[in-house]
């Protein structure tokens, strides 16, 4: 019969239409504007309306989500801030659109580079959010941020982030990327332990 195919198809649309309301009724009040509801709407069993009502609702971000990078500093026991960045320049080299600018200085007395950048700029409009800088930094000093709401009216005034704007405490990093943070900390502690052990061994040898 001509039109049977259309009718069968319309049944699918109808079923979807009905499920939407059934689902809304079944989960009355729990389906929208709360994290569990959002989680349900992106699960394998989700039926009905899929839409997340941004900005009232926001998708939770997975740990690996990347937007623009930020720099990490450690807060020292005396309260001072220590940049993790050593201005080695690797991130500036791997950056595909070349939007990282690092100003290094040398100590006038020794003539050797100071292991902290004087300035650090990222042009966030050029940044293609690739994540290379974070991936290849040997000191875990630069990581990808989760904050994607960076729009402003004036690119010229606000969109070249300097070191101050880029820097965040290690705590912040631990907050948005807990798994990565604890993995890296474990590796770091292990390294430090090894170093301490080696030093102790050397000291013991010297004492002999």
């Amino acid at each position: 019969m001509y039109g049977k195919g259309i009718l069968t198809g319309m049944k699918v649309t109808m079923a979807r239409f009905v499920t939407t309301y059934l689902d809304d009724l079944r989960m009355l009040g729990r389906r929208y504007y709360n994290p569990a509801g959002i989680e349900y709407r992106r699960s394998k069993d989700a039926k009905g309306i899929f839409t997340v009502q941004y900005p009232e609702e926001k998708l939770p971000m997975p740990e690996e989500f990347r937007f623009v990078p930020f720099l990490i500093y450690d807060v020292m026991p005396d309260g001072s801030h220590q940049d993790r960045c050593t201005s080695c320049g690797i991130c500036a080299k791997v950056c595909p659109p070349q939007c990282i600018w690092i100003e290094q200085t040398t100590n006038p007395e020794t003539g050797r580079p100071v292991p902290e950048p004087v300035e650090f700029f990222i042009d966030i409009d050029i940044c293609m959010n690739c994540g290379y800088c974070a991936e290849y930094c040997p000191f875990d000093a630069i990581k990808m941020d989760h904050n994607y709401e960076l729009a402003s009216y004036d690119r010229h005034a606000y969109h070249i982030f300097n070191k101050e704007r880029l820097s965040q405490p290690a705590e912040y990093y631990a907050g948005i990327r807990p798994a990565n943070y604890s993995r890296e900390e474990a590796i770091r502690r292990e390294k430090e332990a090894k170093k301490a052990a080696a030093e102790a061994a050397r000291a013991a040898k010297a004492a002999e």
Partner: protein, 583 residues
């Protein structure tokens, strides 16, 4: 096996053409060289006697030191097997070669591209106009001595970034000052293209239309569809000549999204290019990553090896990409048919769930930048692994069946697509069609089987094929491929071994000198990356064989004789992404 075929190939070709064809002697090069005067003869024999009927890729390489351009051809047999690479050189100041378009229509757009961007003339080409740039543009932007707007330095990384780091905005470089290579005449009148390009296009259109002859003493009408048109899925234009409602000639006009991707790629280091490939066909970044990784890994040879788990993850990601791409393609084909957004939103729902997995694993929903030379960037997190299993075993099969019930037997879909835009198998091969378009025309050619890469050989799946070559078959074949991809995915999630996903990940990748062509079966067809390395940190030549672009070669063929409303459907059934067409 490779050695044997190589030897056999060598003897067959060389026996047939003693003294005319010789193996490329440069280290790392895999093809044969031929003198320009013998090119047509050799190509004819390749097609008619040796079975190399599929011309996949044509591109030019600039060798300023030797003062030559080299045009490189990749031929395949449509029955499968490895490439036969042929190259011909022509002096830089008088670059000209015989055109292969009369023999292989697949060369049409690719030769136009080589003319447009490299300035190699192809004698005997029926329509050698610029294709990505505009007629009247000055210079050839892929030549080694070209400087683009905002030019800064020959190669990345740029010295200005570190250790001095005196920041400035890109806009502060003047697009039209000393950092570009336009001639004085062009600079005096940079918008003269308006006068040159359009008459040439319309003249060509008229010429084709006259060839068709007229039914009545009526005027033909020229209609421009696009560049701003909802059916073109981006900025793409078709200049159409109509006799009443019937199409007598059609010329695609493209390049609105051109960004000289290949030149950017040659300024980049090898590693830099990976995230740029995401932006080609931005709906299927994973496949793009794979094609590029494959080409570079081939050059690196035994310096790099991919762990088994990474191979599985590559397959999983590529097949998920295929599913999300085909869902998108089917959904938007229905949009083109006038079923405004209900089917496409049903399809996009499932795609969203796939993108959730991409996001949790790679960090980004679409610009995944996930593949590395020798593996993938990181492993699946636990929760997205579980999600993936649910998706491929439960939800996607259910939803694809639903989509099938919803659309496949719909009479309107049937009557709008059946017998529309037909391409015969012979034509599909001659025009270099790839992917679903080729297979819907009855040619069971799938790179995953014809020239396997990764670990596809170990999976049980069928190459989908349909035989009518019309829009309906191009729709239904995507349904078939969705199911085949699911089949692969179900096997992969079951069998995937534990282990590392990446051995070494150095930031300064070094690649030995030579040439390589890596190709994958992307969702839109054969996606190839041709790379020439001179042993330095940046590729000497980086070329993308873009299936979206080459599949448009047959657009006119498919459209002539159809009604104007069918153009929209035909274009939708090819499934193009302008990021890849225009590069």
């Amino acid at each position: 096996m490779t050695e044997m075929t190589a030897e056999r190939k060598l003897s067959a070709l060389e026996e047939r053409f003693p003294g005319k064809v010789s193996p490329d002697a440069r280290p790392g090069y895999e093809g044969f060289t031929v003198a320009p005067k013998d090119l047509l003869e050799v190509a004819t024999a390749l097609r008619d006697e040796l079975g190399y009927d599929y011309l996949s890729s044509v591109t030019a390489v600039d060798y300023p030191e030797e003062n030559v351009f080299e045009v490189v051809y990749h031929f395949y047999k449509s029955t499968g097997g490895r490439a036969l690479v042929l190259s011909a050189q022509t002096p830089r100041n008088k670059a000209s070669l015989p055109s292969l378009t009369p023999l292989y229509p697949a060369a049409d757009f690719q030769e136009r591209e080589a003319w447009d961007l490299m300035g190699v003339k192809f004698e005997g080409h029926p329509d050698l106009r610029r294709i990505l740039m505009w007629e009247g543009f000055d210079g050839f932007p892929l030549r080694k001595d070209w400087k683009e707007a905002y030019y800064e330095e020959e190669h990345k990384p740029f010295a200005a970034r570190w250790p001095e780091g005196a920041v400035r905005r890109s806009e502060d470089l003047n697009a039209f000052s000393g950092n570009v290579a336009y001639s004085k005449e062009f600079m005096a009148q940079p918008d003269k293209y308006e006068e040159e390009a359009e008459p040439l296009l319309y003249a060509k259109l008229n010429e084709e239309a006259e060839k068709m002859g007229r039914n009545f003493e009526t005027d033909f009408v020229t209609v421009n569809m696009g560049p701003q048109h909802p059916s073109t899925h981006g900025v793409f234009r078709m200049a159409v000549m109509l006799d009443g409602e019937t199409i007598v000639a059609l010329k695609p006009v493209m390049g609105y999204l051109h960004r000289n991707h290949e030149k950017i790629g040659e300024r980049n280091t090898y590693l830099h290019n990976m995230p740029f490939t995401d932006r080609l066909d931005y709906l299927s970044s994973m496949s793009n990553n794979w094609g590029y990784a494959l080409a570079v890994e081939k050059l690196m040879g035994n310096r790099v090896s991919v762990p088994e788990r990474a191979e599985y993850i590559r397959v999983i990601m590529a097949e998920l990409t295929r599913i999300s791409n085909h869902l998108w393609a089917i959904g938007f084909l229905l949009n083109d048919l006038g079923a405004f957004f209900t089917p496409s939103l049903y399809a996009i729902e499932e795609r969203e769930l796939i993108l959730d997995i991409f996001e949790a694993t790679t960090g980004s929903r679409m610009m995944c930048n996930y593949f590395r030379f020798g593996g993938v960037a990181r492993d699946f997190p636990e929760d997205s692994w579980n999600k993936l299993k649910d998706l491929v075993n439960e939800r996607l099969p259910r939803r694809i069946d639903e989509l099938d019930v919803y659309l496949t037997n719909n009479e309107i879909v049937g009557s709008r697509t059946t017998g529309v835009g037909v391409l015969t198998p012979e034509e599909a091969i001659a025009y270099g069609m790839a992917g679903p378009v080729l297979r819907a025309s009855g040619v069971p050619y799938d790179v995953r089987r014809a020239d396997p890469y990764g670990i596809y050989e170990s999976f049980d799946f069928d190459v989908a094929v349909r035989y009518h070559g019309d829009c309906y078959d191009r729709y239904i074949i995507r349904m078939d491929e969705l199911r085949q991809s699911l089949k692969i995915l179900q096997q992969a999630v079951k069998r995937i071994p534990a282990g590392s996903v990446l051995d070494k990940n150095p930031y300064n990748v070094r690649v030995p000198a030579g040439e390589s062509y890596g190709r994958v079966e992307g969702p839109k067809g054969e996606l190839g990356f041709y790379i020439v390395s001179d042993g330095s940190a940046n590729p000497h030549r980086y070329h993308v064989r873009a299936p979206s672009f080459i599949n448009l070669t047959a657009l006119e063929k498919m459209c002539v004789g159809q009604k104007v409303a069918d153009v929209v459907v035909i274009l939708g059934s090819i499934d193009i992404v302008l990021g890849e067409v225009d590069r």
